[in-house]
Subunit: 374 residues, 4 copies
């Protein structure tokens, strides 16, 4: 006999690319994981009635709305999920949090650090999630596990790139991601935020940065590319690059860590793989292990398909949601939450200031935030 599980009523604001990815996760989480809730896809909210009706039908939402204000305070909503352009995140999240809703939000959390802090403050008493979904790529979860077990040893180098190539595509010239008022920034919020979140997860806090921002397209309002140097609190050094002008690369979100005992390499375009170098291997067979992270012994993958049967992009959202729900049920603290996203914004702010001032900038410490909470 099935045990009775509590219901969670979901409302999703937004019905674009992320709306699809989230809706899919809402349906699929319970199929692959033993989630402790019954999810009910109550309301999807979008600006254009017809589009959102179609969306609702396809993705199984019960009700359609076009005004988010009315939705986030509804009594029959437990969770508000935000998948709209960046400039709307704060208002929706703060309103929802005030109404006591659980808040899930796309990245980047906010338009800038002060806004991110206000959001985290407002949501201090509700569970939050930020869709830094790549933390739950099985290979990245394995990387985290190896780092935590000391398999990399003392870290020396961290190197991350997030390379896309659609920045000059005339067909996409009008998208909101190029408007400063809508997106806040270009690749910084869109791509670099992902790389920074993973770096903070895998290699800890960043102490200071020196950065360079570039906009290749005349009159474009936001950054097309960013490159930066970083010193981490643990003594390692790193570099980051994010761009929409890396011809030949569709979605190369990649990183490498070199430590005293080993090394790790990952590339999102081949997300079922992790390359792992171990100095403890016999000398004559030392070389990066080409690990197909589909089990056995790997995070999440027992949940999906048998060993050797790969997963895709969407599974990162499914695993993120499943972990969140499990945390929620046992009242644990889920990561990445709004506070984690504030830390990403702290680095982003330092990156922006560094580029503007052409000087090294310290990353403001989380201590600031914590004290402000007390």
């Amino acid at each position: 006999m099935a045990k009775q599980v509590p219901k969670l009523n979901l409302a999703m604001i937004g019905s674009g690319f992320m709306g699809r990815a989230h809706s899919n996760a809402f349906h699929q989480a319970g199929r692959f994981f033993d989630i402790p809730y019954e999810l009910r896809l109550r309301i999807v909210c979008g600006r254009k009635p017809e589009t959102v009706e179609d969306f609702a039908r396809r993705w199984g939402w019960e009700e359609v709305q076009t005004d988010w204000q009315s939705v986030v305070t509804r009594k029959d909503v437990d969770v508000v999920d935000i998948g709209v352009p960046n400039h709307l995140h704060a208002a929706i999240a703060i309103e929802a949090a005030k109404a006591g809703k659980i808040v899930l939000c796309e990245k980047p959390l906010a338009m800038n650090l002060p806004e991110a802090k206000r959001m985290a403050e407002a949501a201090r008493k509700v569970p939050t999630l930020v869709w830094f979904n790549y933390r739950r790529v099985p290979a990245i979860a394995l990387a985290k596990q190896l780092v935590d077990e000391g398999k990399i040893g003392k870290p020396y180098h961290y190197r991350a790139t997030y390379l896309q190539s659609w920045g000059g595509d005339p067909e996409r010239a009008g998208v909101w991601r190029f408007r400063k008022a809508d997106a806040g920034s270009g690749v910084m919020g869109d791509l670099l935020s992902h790389s920074l979140d993973l770096a903070l997860l895998l290699n800890g806090k960043i102490a200071e940065v020196s950065s360079l921002l570039e906009t290749f397209v005349p009159n474009r309002e936001v950054d097309d590319a960013v490159v930066l140097l970083a010193r981490f609190a643990n003594g390692s050094i790193g570099s980051f690059e994010a761009t929409r002008f890396a011809t030949g690369c569709r979605n190369r979100n990649a990183f490498e860590i070199h430590g005293s005992q080993g090394a790790i390499r990952f590339n999102l375009e081949d997300l079922n793989r992790l390359e792992v170098f171990e100095r403890s291997d016999a000398t004559e067979v030392q070389g990066s292990h080409n690990v197909l992270v589909t089990g056995p012994g790997h995070p999440y993958v027992g949940r999906f398909w048998p060993p050797g049967h790969i997963v895709g992009y969407e599974h990162t959202f499914i695993a993120t949601l499943a972990d969140f729900l499990e945390c929620l049920a046992r009242q644990g603290t889920f990561h990445a939450n709004f506070d984690d996203a504030v830390e990403v914004h702290q680095v982003l702010e330092a990156v922006e200031n560094s580029a503007r001032s052409k000087s090294w900038r310290n990353v403001s410490t989380t201590a600031d935030r914590t004290s402000s909470v007390a």
Copy 2:
């Protein structure tokens, strides 16, 4: 306003690994594709009531049954989907076909060629599908397209391997796939059938074979490995290998074609990639193109996620089902159907006879079948 679409009531026999993959496809097809039916997951049928109840709850089946006979003739069932051990395929499929149901069946279709022919005969008047799902890997669909466009030119070589490594795993020693009465064969039906189906799709009919079967585990009833040479009707030559003893390979379903104008390479463990060599490239930059088959310009992928966002194993079932439903609605002939699977069994029979007799064997021609239909 949504157009009204007809309903299709599904019954699925089996609730194991394939039951999961099919159920997932039944739910997901309509989300990623514009399918011309509303699918209703009516009945799932399994032997153990408790297991199947759990399964039904997780995968959203309305009703549970334990006796397939009662299911396949039910008036409220339009489609019977078969995902049980091989020895049960024929009885279920024939019964269902007689009852006028649309029949979907896992591969290998049958225990042997005569049985496959009986099934095809019995199902002559109903639409059928065999889950040779790898035809719908986007990269393989692209390969087919390139072959059809003449990009490979006159084919010289076809080389396929399907390499797994769990054959000696003591924890799996008791599975039905090792019992001759249940599985019919070992890797021949399980793995080689996939490779043959793709070869027939991409390179046409096989004229004759010389093969070798091996069972590494003492007293095992079925083949652990098969290797074979082949002459294709188009004049090219090939080799096939399927094994569960390829240490280091979880699911390396790979093939290569070399022709007068180009070459193609694929590996299921990296299923979003296709390597394409084109002799028409300028001499100094000739080299295999490493194509990330996630669009633009690629089959299916506009259906899933944006370029650079990879798909996984399960999407092959989703795309297979979507294509089938589209065919069904316009009364077209879907492939792979039961007749296509008969062709695979024709080769399998020749392979088995060749290995037993240690001699080359012709593959019986499909003409036989066609005439028998008249």
Copy 3:
């Protein structure tokens, strides 16, 4: 003070591609290895006086001749090295051996098995070398070492391909390798012989074969491609393919071994790499090690350049020669010698007979040869 080392006077018959590779090795061996002889490049012999004069000047040969008969019996010659078309190997080698010369010969040793046996017989009392140079690719020598140490365990599968693509190149249509009278065979002697030599080295004797020969070019006298199945004496099974019609592949001499404890993969186009899978790795980091075989701990490479600095094609000849000279000095038995090449020809004969008769053929055992010696 340098120790006095004996001189070895060399004569080389042939001044083509192999003449270059051998001459280079004669010069370079003493630079990278501590060879126990002083090599003197006495005579190079070629048909066209002008060509061979140029060659001699470039490659540092003291004297030029155009008639091999006069050369192989010269008192001031200790070593006769044969790098001419296949049909000339036997006469030269037998004459040289009768004159008591050390004989080095290109592969394939002979036009056919009987000739190879005659050559081995004639050379029974002199040291011999056959230029199966790939045995001394550092990565292959490492593979041999790993096999011998049991790192692969009981072997299950052996898979070799030697893929080239120049078979249809009109500019090369007139080369001697396409004339049966000069070459004896096509890819069998040219490419498959290499693959077989490595297989015999790494996986032991081949018991029986089933093969297929194909000539794609009308009126061509020799085989353009060969594919074959093999049963090894150790119980493993294998396949081999050699072709000049593998569009996209310049020189892909590749093999894989899967055993109970591990696996190995090699590709000559990337000859400084060996992929090594070890089942003894911790489950979560199991995956092929991508080993850059340039030391430390690797065969030969301490001889060449520091770790990470790769070697090329020519170094395989250098290492082969150095090993031979070291054996010679201590009167050890060098491999591959004429007897080893006879074993390759035993397989080649079985391959040819199998293809002609379309049946499995046993490989004649070396016992035959040994008894014939008694």
Copy 4:
């Protein structure tokens, strides 16, 4: 009949790793290339008589000396080749140049920019070569050709890493490369100089840099790692990293360029490959071409072995020397010469100043040098 070619008498100062690489090139250049000189290996000079005697015997030097001063002014010396620790470069090169000798020198040319300028000034009237040998990797020469032909289009991004891992090896803790007085710097001069030379070659002048230097080993006098951002004069942006603490990487000298029309990727550990992306490819087959740069149509490689037969590290020195001699004969200007090395030092100086001052630094322009010459 051979044409008479002039003789060039060589003296080499140094008999270590670079002494081997250069000696090898001196012997091999004339075998693979049609060089317009007869090279005579006259004198090798080293500190320890016994070591250098052994070296001379092995590498075919006629005479041994231990005092470079006496050598560089010798009448029977035309060319002085410098392969000693960095702090000795200037004195030897200047003395040799004053004596009218042709001067070849290892990189980094000097201990710092002023010294480099003095050297270039002193050598203004003699032909010079700096052993930036990687310019002549066939794949890099192909990259240069593609860039010059506009195949990359307008460049956006340049990304270079030079990753080694021996920095913490206790067995090598005492080498001169870690002593500031001998080496001048750590990875900056040793590794970064190579990356910068290639960047200047392939992507033109660097306008400004922001950098970070790190020494991981306590009390080590030189930099273990450097990371930097760069703005190029052509408007593209870039990053560089050089380190001896990249666990898992033996000699990964790699770079990537992304431009409006294409992209290029190279890695020295796989030096016979170039990855080339071309936007002009048909959409559905766009992907990096995996080019095995061994001909046909590729730079140098017709000189070495047939297509598909790879070359190694040492061939970069051979091709460099051959190009130099060809320039010398026609009194052309060879690159990289001392002036090119000065440009590298200009960047290195800016890098060092940037790291010390923690600020962006302009790279002093070559105009300075040119005017100082007038």
